[in-house]
């Protein structure tokens, strides 16, 4: 059936909450308001105030409360309205949720989900447009999921709600209205990347919103006679380098496209791992087309210029193939 990214997320929450009474939703405006981006609309009515909990504006306590609840029998989905606000709860995410199983010698885990959304596209400016996934990739103890498609929004969230450890689940603010077929049975398992388009000239590795621009670019490159293999990572932890390196070992060229800013970003780890895993096969250095190393400006044109566009992905493809 065709639906939207937003609806797919809601369906995943709804079905999971119906199946598992220990799941609760908590966050700012998740209840009566239905979520700042409408993801949880109707859930308060269906599951009641004990399970769909509107919170005050207290990011540190929201996440800390979820951690405590996850240690005592509930499976909380704590929502941060914008991932930029995780800066107020990093202690709970990094020092607590991610480390509790380890610090306590494996006695207990923290089965919670930190749901949030990031990225550009709404002129949210520097404090409402960031892509901070690299911080979580760099935090042992966390899973990190970043769905790009309707189907992945659904299957990844449903699977995340079964994991014994904390999951940082990052949506993209520009994808909520994204339409697509919901085909869970065709989705790869959790932790596996997906080859969305097969190609022979180079491997394009990406995730989240950039997946769509990558596919558009691949289409245009095909018209120019360049064959692009497009891989959607789907989760950053687990990170499926097998699929990526298997592809690069065939194509001999790799372009990484991410929205987060280049320096110290996810693109760095991917480039390093591809070089480590496919060095003997590389015809060219791994290229990184990422967000600029700047805060995100508010003006729409400036904002757009801060992250990779379809056109620039196409250009990068030509550059990589030297034609």
């Amino acid at each position: 059936m065709e639906t939207t990214y937003r609806e797919a997320l809601r369906l995943a929450l709804q079905e999971s909450m119906q199946a598992d009474p220990s799941i609760i939703l908590m966050g700012e405006e998740v209840g009566r308001y239905g979520g700042a981006y409408g993801v949880s609309k109707g859930l308060l009515e269906e599951f009641g105030e004990a399970r769909v909990i509107d919170t005050p504006i207290s990011e540190e306590a929201i996440v800390g409360t979820a951690v405590g609840a996850a240690m005592t029998g509930l499976r909380p989905v704590a929502e941060l309205m914008y991932v930029d606000f995780v800066t107020l709860s990093m202690d709970q995410v990094v020092n607590q949720a991610a480390k509790i199983r380890y610090m306590f010698g494996g006695q207990i885990g923290v089965p919670m989900i930190l749901r949030s959304q990031g990225g550009t596209g709404r002129s949210g400016a520097a404090q409402h447009s960031q892509s901070l996934e690299a911080w979580f990739l760099h935090t042992p103890g966390l899973h990190v999921a970043m769905p790009a498609t309707v189907t992945d929004a659904y299957v990844l969230l449903k699977h995340a709600l079964t994991l014994p450890d904390p999951v940082v689940f990052l949506e993209h603010k520009s994808l909520y209205v994204q339409k697509g077929e919901l085909t869970p049975d065709q989705a790869p398992p959790w932790g596996k990347a997906q080859v969305l388009r097969s190609g022979t000239d180079f491997t394009l590795v990406t995730y989240s919103r950039m997946v769509h621009r990558a596919l558009e670019a691949a289409e245009q490159l095909a018209a120019a006679g360049i064959s692009t293999e497009v891989i959607d990572l789907r989760t950053l932890h687990p990170l499926d380098m097998e699929t990526v390196n298997a592809s690069v070992s065939r194509t001999g060229r790799a372009l990484i496209v991410t929205e987060d800013c280049l320096t110290g970003g996810v693109s760095a780890e991917l480039a390093a791992r591809i070089t480590e895993g496919s060095f003997d096969f590389l015809e060219e250095p791994v290229l990184r087309l990422a967000g600029e190393d700047i805060p995100i400006p508010v003006a729409a044109e400036l904002e757009a210029a801060s992250v990779p566009s379809t056109e620039r992905i196409v250009k990068a493809g030509h550059l990589l193939l030297r034609r």
Binding site: Y33, I57, S58, G124, A126, L287, I294, P308, R322
Partner: protein
């Protein structure tokens, strides 16, 4: 107060109301940078009352709903509107927008898009004024929602501990997005609470901007002597949270009642009661409309920022600047070392 004062307050309240209406118009005409625009209609008395009690050399930070406060402190509506439109001639060259307007010249240390984010900054400003003995006061404006942010409590303690010239002003418009205050805070004893942190504190009905002013004046006198204070101004958010919000979470009766608390209408009535004619009042309205229409037009006509400005202002001029990603791509494929670029 004198008739001029009554008139001045009316004009200031009206300028904010009218400015915000023009922001709405700019949005409808597609001229704003995005839709995260938070109008302060219904809350003008906090901005004008406190703003008029402040002095040159004082500074302030605001929350995301800060247009009115900046106008009350002397902002140029044209440059504000241009910034809200993401234009080059805006206060922040089109980089900050509505939620990040600032102007060091007027002591505006910045609006903030992080609820509570600007509160701690006034503690630092107060520390500067104490150490540098400027005589200045720093004022933090924030909403009722920020009362649930831990940083605010840390900030109150620091100001009291160090006796800093700081005033905390909570603009209580009853809502944080769709959440009414009583659903966000178990207790509403904010004044008592502030006192337990060592501040002098009080709250005031925002219906009468002049009363707000007098209360702010009293508190600011103590603040200048090194006794930090907290003021809660009670009002009502007339419209939705942001441009896209139609406030489905509150019923019409409540909204109608809330909008009765109209500090602008109240001040106009005061003018009439003190002998001004409707015509005199309408004259002011006409002048203000002209001023704000001009601001709107200015924003529409203003030039957009050139694309390459995105790399400016990340670091100070003279410091290493960000290298464009496309440049890096080219370098990677054209052996920068051989070409001597590395």
């Amino acid at each position: 107060m004198s008739l001029e004062t009554h008139q001045h307050f009316f004009r200031q309240l009206l300028r904010i109301r009218t400015f915000e209406e023009r922001v709405g118009e700019l949005f409808v005409r597609g001229g704003t940078a995005g839709s995260m625009l938070h109008l302060s209609i219904g809350e003008e008395s906090g901005a004008v009352g406190v703003g008029e009690a402040m002095q040159p050399g004082d500074s302030f930070t605001t929350h995301h709903r800060g247009h009115g406060i900046f106008l009350a402190r002397g902002a140029d509506p044209r440059r504000m509107m241009a910034e809200i439109g993401g234009k080059l001639t805006g206060y922040c060259r089109g980089k900050g927008g509505s939620m990040h307007i600032a102007d060091m010249g007027l002591g505006h240390l910045g609006a903030n898009a992080i609820v509570g984010g600007g509160i701690t900054h006034v503690v630092g400003a107060g520390l500067s004024y104490r150490n540098l003995q400027t005589g200045g006061v720093a004022v933090a404006f924030f909403g009722d929602g920020a009362m649930q942010q831990g940083g605010f409590y840390e900030s109150m303690n620091l100001t009291a501990l160090w006796k800093l010239p700081v005033l905390f002003v909570c603009i209580n418009n009853e809502y944080g997005m769709g959440t009414r205050l009583d659903r966000a805070s178990a207790s509403l004893e904010f004044v008592k609470r502030a006192e337990t942190f060592g501040l002098v504190a009080s709250e005031v009905d925002g219906l009468d901007a002049e009363v707000v002013h007098d209360r702010a004046q009293e508190l600011l006198e103590q603040v200048r002597k090194g006794q930090p204070a907290f003021l809660k101004v009670n009002c009502y958010r007339f419209h939705g949270h942001a441009r896209m919000d139609k406030s489905p979470y509150r019923d019409d009766a409540e909204e109608a009642a809330g909008r009765q608390k109209d500090c602008l209408a109240f001040q106009r009535k005061r003018l009439i009661d003190t002998g001004m004619t409707e015509a005199d009042c309408d004259q002011i309205v006409t002048e203000v409309n002209q001023e704000m229409d001009a601001a709107l037009q200015y924003a529409l006509d203003a030039p957009p920022p050139p694309l390459d400005t995105i790399y400016e202002d990340v670091y100070a001029p003279g410091q290493p600047q960000p290298e464009p990603v496309d440049q890096r791509l080219r370098d990677a494929l054209h052996s920068p070392i051989l070409s001597g670029r590395a």
